[in-house]
């Protein structure tokens, strides 16, 4: 049956960053209509897993399939909506909310074609779902953090995706905005959109989750019915609120780049 084709599947997924395997032999299959929460402590590999599913991080072993097609041959990007972490929302030039959200239509537009009526309708719809329809003409930089996050979700929705991937949409977002976000996701769930969400804590999103996948040290430690926040951060799944400010794989802040401006981050060998 056609509906039995998994929306997303990763088999034996292994991803190294700077020579260290951050993700090890991960198997995960997401079926149509599921709402999956990827959880775990910082550094457990949950964001890495999401980035490898979108092709942003290459796998050194294993395969990723989107809608039954291996990632290397997958071209149907309009079926996938991606909401990256918020930090990337503001560039050096003033940008209106409309402009940010309209870039979400690009996966469905051909180059050199103007914005058509149905593109505009989809953009307006997406803005309504996240409750930002009245801020269309405002600059993105004038929005609060939570509103910016919703604008990024609207951007992904504008492409009318069947699979929505959200990377920490609730991080640093206040409670009213988390609720507004949950409302938007309820609407989408009602439409049958498959969603995979990376979260440290679920908060108001908890009732939506069908399935929790908890990562620990680059491997899947738990895959099953939803867990409460405190269970995820229990002793079995490793340190709870430990923040890796001394993350050894991060950019070497105090090393001037002069000696090696052509070294790539991935090839760097740690001492």
């Amino acid at each position: 049956m056609l509906t039995d084709v998994p929306v997303l599947s990763i088999t034996d997924g292994t991803v190294p960053i700077a020579g260290r395997p951050v993700l090890r032999h991960v198997d995960l299959t997401v079926r149509p209509g599921e709402f999956v929460a990827l959880m775990g402590a910082n550094g457990s590999g949950k964001s890495t897993l999401m980035r490898s599913m979108t092709g942003l991080l290459p796998l050194s072993r294993g395969t990723v399939e989107l809608f039954g097609t291996p990632l290397q041959r997958f071209r149907d990007w309009s079926r996938v909506g991606y909401v990256p972490q918020r930090s990337s929302a503001i560039g050096g030039v003033p940008t209106s909310v409309w402009e940010v959200v309209s870039t979400g239509r690009l996966s469905r537009r051909r180059p050199l074609r103007p914005l058509l009526a149905r593109d505009r309708a989809a953009i307006r719809e997406a803005l309504e779902v996240v409750g930002l329809a009245d801020r269309v003409r405002d600059g993105v930089s004038t929005l609060s953090g939570g509103q910016q996050q919703r604008a990024l979700i609207a951007r992904a929705l504008a492409g009318e995706p069947e699979l929505l991937l959200l990377d920490e949409p609730t991080a640093g977002v206040d409670l009213p905005n988390q609720r507004a976000l949950a409302d938007a996701l309820v609407t989408l769930k009602g439409r049958g959109v498959t969603m995979v969400l990376v979260a440290h804590e679920l908060g108001p999103l908890a009732p939506l989750v069908d399935r929790a996948v908890v990562m620990r040290d680059g491997q899947v430690a738990y895959d099953g019915p939803p867990l409460a926040d405190h269970e995820v951060h229990g002793p079995f799944f490793g340190p709870g609120h430990h923040h890796h400010h001394d993350d050894p794989t991060g950019p070497p802040d105090h090393v001037p780049g002069v000696t090696s401006p052509v070294d790539s981050a991935a090839e760097e060998v740690l001492p």
């Binding site: 990256p84 003033p94 870039t103």
Partner: protein, 333 residues
């Protein structure tokens, strides 16, 4: 007033000014969006070596400059992509390498420093007919690509990761922008000179974005400022040179666009301050019903105090208070 447009060289200079004034800010807007404002400068320095190579081999400095600048642009892009956060160092290396190589090779070619200076600071009035054609064709190509592929270039400049997951070939668009920047640098080289090239790309954008709220209006506004600066600067320099010797168009053009920035910046600062002040307060009931004492001032529309929306009413701001009208008195909110 003396009719400066009666001279053939002035007509040629005007054409070059119009086309560079319109095209340079387009590329500049994408560069500013990606926070690569200094990339144009780096390419300008690299192009010096290209010009010197042209002088050495007795070929057209324009074409050797374009070739070397594109090579430099690709190199910057590769270094930026492979390195992490080392982009500024890569630019610095190319800055110095480019200018040192240029001066060295010019010397070897037996050319005087003044010949190189034509390219460093521009010599729009000595531009040849053939150069005008090349300038117009290249500038038109930059405009066509910069505006036609606007949605793609904007998306890539805005958020590379999202662009990649949208199925865009991010690397190709990054390279395209780098090549556009390289071509723009060499096109504007005759107008304002390699050392001031970046100014014509960046300053109109900086001036316009003080007043705008969207990318589109910034892009179009910057084109307008670029056009007025380059044509205006050329005319001012031409008229002024009848009175004072030694006024060259290149610096005049750049200083005119900086004047625009000096004019728009205070307005922008005031607008931003006002916008921040008018952000609605969170809808929260006050802690207690706290009334003001004697209040001789009557708040209202245009009373001089900012009125900020607060739930279903407005608060008037003055001296650190938020005063909301309540019957005959004011509440402290």
């Amino acid at each position: 007033m003396i009719d400066v447009l009666g001279y053939d060289f002035m007509i040629r200079a005007m054409l070059a000014a119009v086309f560079t004034g319109l095209s340079a800010p387009i590329v500049g807007t994408y560069l500013v969006q990606r926070r690569l404002s200094l990339m144009g400068d780096g390419l300008g320095h690299v192009a010096v070596t290209g010009v010197a190579l042209g002088l050495l081999t007795n070929t057209s400095p324009t074409w050797t400059a374009i070739a070397v600048a594109i090579l430099g642009a690709v190199l910057i892009e590769v270094i930026r992509e492979r390195g992490h956060g080392g982009g500024d160092v890569a630019l610095a290396l190319l800055f110095y390498g480019g200018i040192a190589g240029g001066v060295l090779i010019t010397g070897i070619a037996g050319q005087s420093a003044s010949r190189l200076q034509e390219f460093l600071f521009g010599s729009i009035t000595t531009i040849s007919v053939q150069d005008v054609w090349v300038t117009m064709a290249l500038a038109a190509a930059v405009m066509a690509i910069g505006l036609g592929l606007g949605p793609q270039l904007f998306t890539v400049a805005q958020d590379q990761e999202f662009a990649k997951v949208s199925g865009l070939n991010v690397r190709a668009y990054n390279l395209l922008l780098a090549v556009l920047a390289a071509v723009t640098v060499t096109v504007a080289m005759r107008t304002v000179g390699l050392l001031l090239v970046s100014a014509l790309m960046i300053v109109p954008v900086a001036a316009t974005q003080q007043l705008t709220r969207s990318f589109r209006s910034t892009l179009l506004g910057a084109m307008g400022v670029g056009l007025v600066s380059s044509v205006g600067g050329l005319l001012i320099a031409a008229w002024a040179s009848f009175e004072v010797q030694g006024i060259s168009p290149g610096p005049t053009i750049v200083l005119l666009s900086l004047t625009f920035f000096a004019l728009t910046w205070p307005v922008g600062a005031w607008l931003r301050h006002r916008r921040r002040q008018r952000i609605p307060f969170d809808e929260m009931p006050p802690l207690a019903h706290q009334t003001t004492g004697e209040h001789p001032h009557q708040h209202g529309e245009n009373c001089g105090h900012p009125a900020v929306p607060h739930g279903d009413h407005v608060d008037y701001l003055h001296d650190g208070h938020r005063h909301a009208p309540h019957g005959a008195h004011y509440d402290e909110h």
